[in-house]
């Protein structure tokens, strides 16, 4: 295990991450640091522990209807027809976009049943940089497991753009290399398809070699963005 102490900048970055004060690009940087640097990952967790007591409040039993609604949404309560259920689930969502996204994420992770007549859902991501100078779009066909990434503005500066999918815990997996100037079709390996869902982050790093996809990112994150539903 490494004993290199964290710098003040690292400590502040980890604290900002736990406070949720970073922008999207900052979050992607943190996600890749968490994936590659156990000491930094531990520092982010430590900040979450340090701040958690601020949320300490009197315990308050929620009304019973909350659990009843959750049960319906996760499918504990049997319903007559799946198709009707989704409509009702949508109509019953009183909350904002986050609730919708959470439900969607759930539905996509746990599709109710294969219904081949329906069009395949497409997931999208808009990847941007902190400076706004680089951008990329991504569209993922869930049925085919095919991802199309299109650079809008990207200067690889002699290095090779590598695409990553990063989960909420910061675990990054390479999806291979992409072209910096034209659209690239990426066939997502079956084992990786469970990662292609709402809320996951796509990011591109610039790597020095492109002989094979890397286990860990070494280069800087140039663009990143969260996966959303079209």
């Amino acid at each position: 295990m490494t004993t290199r102490p964290l710098s003040d900048d690292d400590i502040v970055l980890a604290g900002e991450a736990a406070l949720g004060m970073l922008d999207r690009a900052g979050e992607a940087v943190v996600a890749s640091r968490i994936a590659t640097d156990p000491l930094f990952a531990a520092e982010v967790s430590a900040w979450q522990d340090r701040f958690a007591p601020m949320l300490a409040a009197d315990a308050a039993p929620p009304p019973a209807k909350i659990w009843n609604d959750i049960r319906v949404k996760i499918g504990t309560v049997p319903t007559r027809r799946a198709a009707n259920t989704s409509v009702r689930v949508w109509q019953s969502i009183a909350g904002g976009a986050t609730a919708v996204a959470a439900t969607l994420a759930f539905m996509l992770v746990n599709p109710p049943a294969p219904r081949p007549t329906e069009p395949s859902p497409t997931l999208v991501a808009a990847l941007g940089s902190e400076t706004g100078r680089a951008a990329m779009t991504a569209a993922y066909d869930m049925r085919r497991g095919e991802l199309v990434v299109t650079p809008v503005a990207m200067k690889p500066e002699g290095r090779f753009p590598e695409l990553w999918v990063i989960d909420a815990s910061g675990d990054a997996k390479s999806l291979g290399f992409v072209d910096a100037t034209s659209a690239t079709r990426v066939a997502v390996a079956p084992a990786m398809r469970t990662r292609m869902k709402i809320g996951m982050t796509l990011a591109v790093t610039l790597e020095a070699d492109h002989t094979a996809p890397h286990a860990k990112a070494a280069g800087p994150v140039i663009v990143s963005g969260k996966i959303e539903i079209l």
Partner: protein
Amino acid sequence: MINAEPANNSAEFARRRADDDRAILVAALKRAATGDKNAFEDVYRRTSAKLFGVCLRIFPERQDAEEALQDAYLTIWSKAATFDSSRASPITWLVTLTRNRAIDRLRAIRNRGLASLDEAVDVADPAPLADSVMLADEADSRLNYCINTLDERDAECVRTAFLKGATYAELATRDGVPLGTIKSRVRRALLKLRECMSQ
């Protein structure tokens, strides 16, 4: 052997109970991650009062807090597999996830222009801790102690960021100061807090 010191005995009892609660919760979360809905219900029964308290702390309106709680549990259900018991305690993971979802919702409300940071309720005085089994009150009093050693404006930035999801830009606008000033306050506060809390 009979323990002659009742104070130690009860502290030991509380600690063991907390360890048991934690182990049970870890096991339930792991089963929920495999799609076990009964295990997920168990997680809900054990933690919903705690997490509803968290939502009520972030949202003054009960209706908002209820929606935030439901949103949090749907996320917990879909993300249970990402919980790593070697990295975080289950209750910290649940509280952090609930807080993050609630803050997303709060920010969305602010971005729609329905509320501003100025309307946020006073966050200066954290509520006292009720159930010390779920979050160690030792940690709570240490955080309070350390926050009180900070410059009041620095401390307020950290509290408002954590409890209201305030961004650097929002804090700068609210206080009418340059972004760099807020960044310096947060940086100073974080470094002092960490030093104080690791003592």
